[in-house]
């Protein structure tokens, strides 16, 4: 009833091409921002931060990164875990080598280093496509994990082979290390996610986004209208890896605190994030959020229901939980192959006509 375009006239192209053209959407967006920044930090505790909020925020960053590569530029990648590991080890080396520099800068630099590595492993995409490219990026995954395991320089020759995040502050508040409060973790990740989401939205709506989508939809035609496939694919790999590197840096430094590469950044992580992107919706920023929320919240929700409400033993619940999540993913993909973002779009279309659909 309130969700209408009618009467909301646009008088400039800028107004017409804004992110939320419908006023209701705009207000809802501001409300979500206000709650995320103003309300949740006041109430968040360690359980909610560690089980739900922080992993959701970090996975959302990684999902946006992968969505740019897979959903917008159409280059399949199974190397996400490896690229997150690059971000994690880069931020670790930077934090230990330059303790006086702000960790915020370190995280951004870690993203930059991951971007370079991403471009390097993206080079085969000029020659190979589809499944074959997926296999090539899989090589990146295994190589990077092997590298961080085998070369002691990366984990500063520690006996355990693990990396541990040292205590670092931003504006005098601890954001990494054991003394970090739930609010600080949450806010740091939220700020990074907001920055990443805004950058991703801007890039995908402009010239570079159109180049990516042109390459995705028909690469030969794209080349004939003047898209250079080399630079376009490489920027897609660079931007995507930049975001994934930030996600990896935060995952290690803020969320885990200590990491071992094979365990934290293995092939499972690559698949998890790819599932998030596919379930959320390829080629949609909102879809990245939705997919991350779905795969982070669903297990927590199921655990609470099975163990908390039904009183099942924890180990049984853990197995059943996996089965239910797997079944839901399959059912969901059959029902709506274009992901949660498409469901959301359909819902909005319906809402626009409600309550008089004819």
């Amino acid at each position: 009833m309130f969700y209408r375009e009618a009467g909301d006239f646009k008088t400039s192209y800028r107004e017409d091409s804004q992110t939320f053209p419908i006023k209701f959407d705009r207000l809802r967006f501001y409300a979500v921002l206000a709650i995320a920044f103003g309300v949740i930090p006041l109430f968040i505790n360690d359980y909610w931060a560690n089980a739900v909020a922080v992993p959701f925020l970090i996975y959302a960053i990684a999902a946006i990164g992968l969505n740019i590569l897979v959903g917008y530029a159409g280059q399949v990648s199974l190397g996400t875990g490896g690229f997150m590991a690059v971000g994690a080890y880069a931020v670790y080396k930077l934090m230990t080598a330059f303790p006086e520099v702000s960790v915020f800068i370190h995280v951004l630099l870690a993203g930059g280093i991951t971007a370079l590595v991403g471009v390097l492993f993206g080079l085969p995409s000029l020659r190979i496509k589809g499944f074959y490219l997926a296999v090539a990026t899989l090589a990146a995954q295994f190589f990077l994990v092997w590298l961080f395991n085998k070369v002691p320089w990366f984990y500063n020759y520690s006996a355990s082979g693990q990396i541990n995040a040292p205590d670092r502050t931003i504006f005098g508040v601890f954001v990494t290390g054991a003394q970090t409060s739930a609010t600080a973790k949450y806010m740091f990740c939220l700020v990074m996610l907001t920055i990443v989401a805004v950058l991703a939205r801007n890039l995908t709506r402009g010239t570079i986004g159109r180049k990516w989508m042109a390459i995705r939809d028909m690469d030969i035609a794209a080349e004939i209208i003047g898209v250079n496939p080399l630079t376009t694919k490489m920027t897609a790999f660079a931007v995507s890896s930049f975001f994934i590197g930030i996600a990896g840096a935060l995952f290690f430094a803020v969320y885990l605190g200590a990491a071992e590469v094979g365990e934290s950044f293995g092939i499972q992580k690559s698949f998890l994030i790819l599932f998030m992107v596919i379930i959320g919706g390829l080629g949609s920023i909102f879809g990245s959020f939705a997919g991350a929320a779905f795969l982070v919240l669903l297990p927590v929700f199921l655990k609470n229901v099975l163990v908390g409400m039904l009183g099942w033993p924890t180990d049984l619940a853990a197995h059943i939980e996996l089965m239910i999540v797997g079944a839901l993913i399959v059912i969901f993909l059959i029902a709506e192959p274009h992901g949660l973002a498409q469901l959301w779009r359909v819902a909005k279309e319906k809402l626009r006509l409600w309550p008089f659909p004819h």
Partner: protein, 272 residues
């Protein structure tokens, strides 16, 4: 054929300029198959030039040579008097040569507006950082180019489908959107590969009108391949006729119509 190297005036009084593009002794081979054999012709500034011929004559290959998609085995292409070296297709696009395809090659996942905006990619200059911030440069540039694109949308009468994803459009409209995308690049030469294929009479008439208007209003030089002889004879100023990879006729529609080789190629000759 009369000598017209300094340009000429058409029957309907349009002034045609000098040579814009020249194909000199083009031969194209795929392994043992010779698709084009020693063909030379020119395209003049402001004219509508048609390439016709029976199926398999090598017309599309010729268009692909012009648009830089194929590199000729022998011979060379001169653009504005300068010999064109081997180039990537995207570099040819930057020279100001745009084309449409026989089988529509639009970006199905994008809206009509975005598809047409891709036509202007070669003209948009803002860098990655400026776009990421969406501050000043990129945003302003986007608005300027949107304005130009809206003019083309008006021109081709596709305002109502501006925000529709291209995948949902019917065939005739897709052809029109493809023309819009090529026009958006403000090309010097527009190459149309069978613009009327698969259209009904009304759609053909619309398309003819658009092609003539484009030539008239923007002064765009047009080279087209078409099978509908009525359309070709009405639209074009000069026609190249190909058969089995060879040029068998070149001249105004009337000259070509009365050329014995051309008649033989189309109607066949008895070999007894």
């Amino acid at each position: 054929m009369n000598d017209m190297s300094e340009g000429y005036v058409t029957a309907d009084g349009r002034k045609i300029g000098g040579t814009l593009m020249e194909m000199k002794n083009i031969t194209l081979k795929f392994g043992g198959v010779t698709a084009i054999q020693d063909i030379s012709f020119d395209i003049r500034d402001g004219e509508i030039r048609a390439i016709i011929g029976p199926n398999g004559a090598g017309k599309s290959s010729m268009l692909n040579v012009i648009s830089g998609f194929y590199i000729p085995t022998e011979g060379s292409v001169y653009f504005k008097g300068v010999k064109r070296g081997p180039m990537k297709p995207y570099q040819v696009a930057q020279l100001g040569i745009a084309r449409t395809f026989q089988n529509i090659a639009l970006f199905d996942g994008m809206s009509v507006l975005d598809n047409i905006m891709t036509g202007r990619l070669t003209l948009m200059k803002s860098g990655l950082l400026s776009q990421a911030m969406w501050w000043g440069g990129a945003s302003k540039e986007e608005d300027e180019h949107r304005e130009k694109v809206e003019k083309i949308i008006d021109f081709l009468e596709i305002q109502s489908i501006r925000k529709t994803p291209v995948g949902r459009l019917p065939y005739g409209l897709k052809k029109r959107v493809e023309l819009a995308r090529a026009l958006a690049a403000e090309p010097k030469i527009l190459l149309l590969d069978e613009p009327m294929a698969g259209m009904n009479v009304e759609e053909k008439e619309d398309m003819c009108r658009f092609i003539l208007d484009v030539n008239d209003e923007f002064g765009t030089t047009i080279a087209l391949i078409e099978h509908d002889m009525g359309v070709v004879m009405d639209l074009s100023d000069r026609v190249v006729v190909m058969d089995y990879g060879k040029k068998i006729g070149d001249g105004t529609p009337d000259e070509v119509r009365n050329n014995q080789d051309v008649i033989d190629a189309y109607l066949g000759v008895s070999h007894d």
